[in-house]
């Protein structure tokens, strides 16, 4: 299940900023020894443009460690702060050093590392805290106006854009849940893999994608049109879908090995160890299922697509002729 957070009463409690360089270039770090000053206006921006986009991204992960979760540095230092807020500065210094040690790729830009302690976040009836970790790797140019008595001038300035988070993570004080956003990391990949160290969480959103991809891949493997129709019909009759359910309804049409390789491939692509029993309501998969049901392959490169919901292909008979092929298609109108 996705974690549903209510940010309505969320507040910024503490903020600190350090400068973290690139370790490949031996740039070092500059550490603040005190919290940053912040007022209501800034707090609003830090809630609206830092906390909300990361949480609303629904990119939910679980903090991870190969042997013991408490050895995950983000988990360790976040837990210290959740237990005692006075540890905030010291813990943020340790996290900044950890970020520096993780910044070994030459394409990582040195920049400000912002740590924010939020409270007043609610999950159902439970009030929780969260720690936001944000790294600014590149500053954006913006234009400002300067009145020079005789002429009004345009001046170029550099600043932190609030429109898109470059790298952000929000660690919740419950479970080991962390929301992660990385809009710059295609090449460097350090934010998730070496700094935060997290694995994707099994969420409905992820399983909608996985089950949708598996369903499509199965449909592509079924070559006979009539079998495709039978698979579509079996699919349409299910209220709840899971990998195991898909295995069951596709078993008359594709080999077990084929099915397993489809699931393995999609699991690797999504970065998840696929849970075969994770169930999703078929309604949530309606878009993906609809695509499979509405499109029937008659022959290689020849598909028939039915877009009218009341119409349904009931049978297809494809025959080879001396000119090519002939297909006899029975389309049934529902309610008739």
């Amino acid at each position: 299940m996705n974690t549903l957070l209510d940010l309505g009463a969320a507040k910024v409690k503490k903020v600190i900023v350090h400068h973290v360089g690139n370790k490949f270039r031996d740039e070092g770090v500059m550490l603040s020894d005190a919290e940053s000053e912040h007022d209501a206006t800034l707090d609003d921006l830090l809630l609206k443009f830092f906390l909300a986009p990361v949480v609303n991204s629904e990119n939910e992960y679980l903090l991870n460690h190969e042997s013991d979760i408490n050895l995950n540095l983000i988990k360790h230092y976040s837990s210290l702060v959740f237990k005692d807020e006075n540890e905030f500065v010291a813990a943020s210094v340790a996290v900044a050093k950890h970020l520096y040690i993780s910044s070994t790729h030459p394409n990582i830009g040195g920049g400000e590392f912002i740590e924010i302690l939020y409270d007043g976040i609610r999950i159902n009836d439970l009030e929780i805290q969260a720690i936001g970790l944000f790294k600014i790797e590149a500053k954006n140019s913006y234009l400002d106006i300067k009145n020079n008595h005789h002429a009004i001038n345009i001046v170029e300035k550099k600043g932190i854009s609030v429109d898109s988070i470059q790298k952000g993570a929000v660690v919740l004080s419950v479970d080991n849940t962390v929301f992660i956003v990385d809009n710059l990391g295609k090449k460097t990949k350090y934010w998730l893999d070496s700094f935060i160290k997290a694995i994707p969480k099994n969420t409905t959103k992820k399983y909608v994608q996985i089950l949708g991809s598996v369903t499509k891949a199965i449909a592509n493997k079924i070559s006979l049109p009539q079998e495709h129709l039978n698979f579509s019909e079996a699919l349409a009759n299910e209220d709840i879908l899971s990998i195991n359910k898909l295995r069951e309804i596709s078993s008359p049409f594709i080999e077990k090995n084929n099915f397993d390789s489809i699931v393995d491939g999609i699991g690797v692509k999504s970065g998840l160890v696929v849970d075969a029993d994770f169930s999703v309501e078929a309604q949530k998969l309606s878009k993906q299922v609809k695509q499979v049901i509405s499109k029937t392959s008659i022959s290689k490169g020849v598909n028939i697509v039915v877009t009218e919901p009341d119409l349904k292909i009931s049978s297809i008979d494809v025959q080879d002729t001396e000119f090519g092929l002939r297909a006899i298609i029975d389309i049934k109108k529902e309610g008739v």
């Binding site: 370790k23 070092g28 550490l31 070994t104 790729h105 140019s141």
Partner: protein
């Protein structure tokens, strides 16, 4: 009329070939790769080993042409060096001393064998305190003897005074070894002339030479060139790093991580997407045991509406013909290729190249100055620690550094 040699039918061998292969125009790599193509794999690329091997074989005319073409195309690519002089004041006149120098009997081509001057250096004075000294020579040596080709090489020394800076900046662009020597002579002569005219404090140019770095700093400096230059140049890729043990004076420690390099590695090319994670490159404690011989970086550039990629090589180069590594060799950079995202005119391309050269010059200079500043700060800390007490010296916190930008 001179006899034309038909390259297609030329099969050079023996003594004739040995002299050519041993000349500085042909690199160790050219010989080694030709040997490899002929099925001879030689662990040591030193010419002492490889030249006799190749001389003992017959080269096809295609193989021979490839060696020569590689040498010519390498020599033809412009390579750049930077240096500077301290001015005595902001309001100085550069033009008069330079006019005097180039109207005198000054001859930077003296005693350089096998060249003919085709365009004499003629300073062009720009309004913005920029003086451009361009020239061209024709090489008459091996290439003419063997190919009957006339190969021209250009050289340029750009002298500029930027804004209120109390400095004169040189950007010397050479192609062949000969133009590298000529550039050096021109800038030395300019420095002397300016000193005699009382414009600069010293006639010794401040250059970035190999021995100006302390062992660890050199590798660090190269790695820092990946930082780019603001929004104009941002790193896209580290294509290649060639590390060398050649000039290292520090013996390898008894550490299995590096001791394997002892007498087995002279040059080693490291490339790939994750070269930063290789311990030799990532761990500072190994910096002292090698130096970066060549580093090729790709930057993304942005100049106005022009965007694209530029590939730049950084290395140390010397005009010295000494066989041993020249510790006075200067930091050099070469633009290997510029790929603009949209088609553009030749004029725009030329302007782009000069904008890129200027930004790379600023990048090199600022990163070098940063290294020197850090060294001075470190020695100040050490000095004050020594003075304040004779207690055991406390190691400075590695993580706390002042922001240098």
């Amino acid at each position: 009329m001179s006899k034309q040699i038909d390259l297609k039918g030329l099969i050079p061998s023996g003594e004739e070939l040995r002299i050519l292969l041993n000349s500085h125009h042909i690199s160790d790599g050219d010989i080694n790769s030709t040997l490899k193509e002929k099925g001879v794999f030689c662990g040591n690329s030193d010419k002492i080993i490889s030249v006799p091997l190749l001389t003992a074989m017959l080269l096809t005319s295609d193989e021979y042409a490839k060696i020569i073409d590689n040498s010519i195309s390498r020599s033809s690519k412009p390579k750049n060096k930077i240096s500077s002089l301290e001015l005595v004041g902001a309001d100085v006149d550069l033009n008069e001393p330079l006019k005097n120098l180039f109207s005198s009997k000054f001859n930077p081509f003296e005693d350089i064998p096998n060249i003919e001057v085709t365009k004499r250096p003629n300073p062009i004075f720009d309004k913005n305190n920029i003086v451009r000294i361009k020239y061209e020579i024709k090489r008459k040596d091996f290439s003419k003897d063997f190919l009957k080709r006339e190969i021209s090489f250009e050289g340029e020394v750009l002298v500029q005074k930027k804004g209120i800076d109390l400095k004169i900046e040189f950007l010397s662009t050479h192609t062949s070894k000969e133009t590298e020597t000529i550039n050096q002579r021109i800038s030395t002569a300019i420095a002397k002339e300016l000193k005699n005219s009382g414009v600069v404090q010293s006639d010794i140019e401040s250059k970035i030479i190999f021995s100006a770095f302390e062992e660890i700093e050199r590798v660090r400096f190269f790695k820092r060139l990946t930082v780019g230059q603001g929004a104009f140049l941002t790193l896209d890729n580290v294509n290649e790093m060639v590390i060398s043990r050649e000039a290292s004076t520090i013996p390898l420690p008894d550490d299995p991580q590096v001791s394997w390099m002892n007498q087995t590695v002279r040059h080693m090319t490291i490339d790939g997407d994750r070269l930063h994670s290789i311990f030799l490159i990532s761990d500072e404690k190994y910096y002292q045991y090698y130096f970066i011989d060549n580093m090729i970086l790709t930057y993304k550039y942005e100049f106005g509406t022009n965007t694209g990629q530029v590939k730049v090589a950084f290395f140390f180069s010397s005009s010295s013909r000494k066989k041993d590594f020249d510790r006075n060799s200067e930091l050099t950079f070469e633009i290997i290729g510029i790929k603009n995202e949209t088609n553009t005119t030749a004029t725009v391309k030329k302007n782009l190249e000069s904008d890129i050269l200027e930004k790379v010059r600023i990048l090199i200079k600022s990163e070098y100055e940063k290294i020197i500043k850090e060294r001075n700060q470190e020695s100040k800390v050490l000095e004050s620690n020594e003075k304040s007490s004779k207690k055991k010296q406390k190691q400075p916190d590695l993580f706390v550094e002042s922001k240098n930008d």
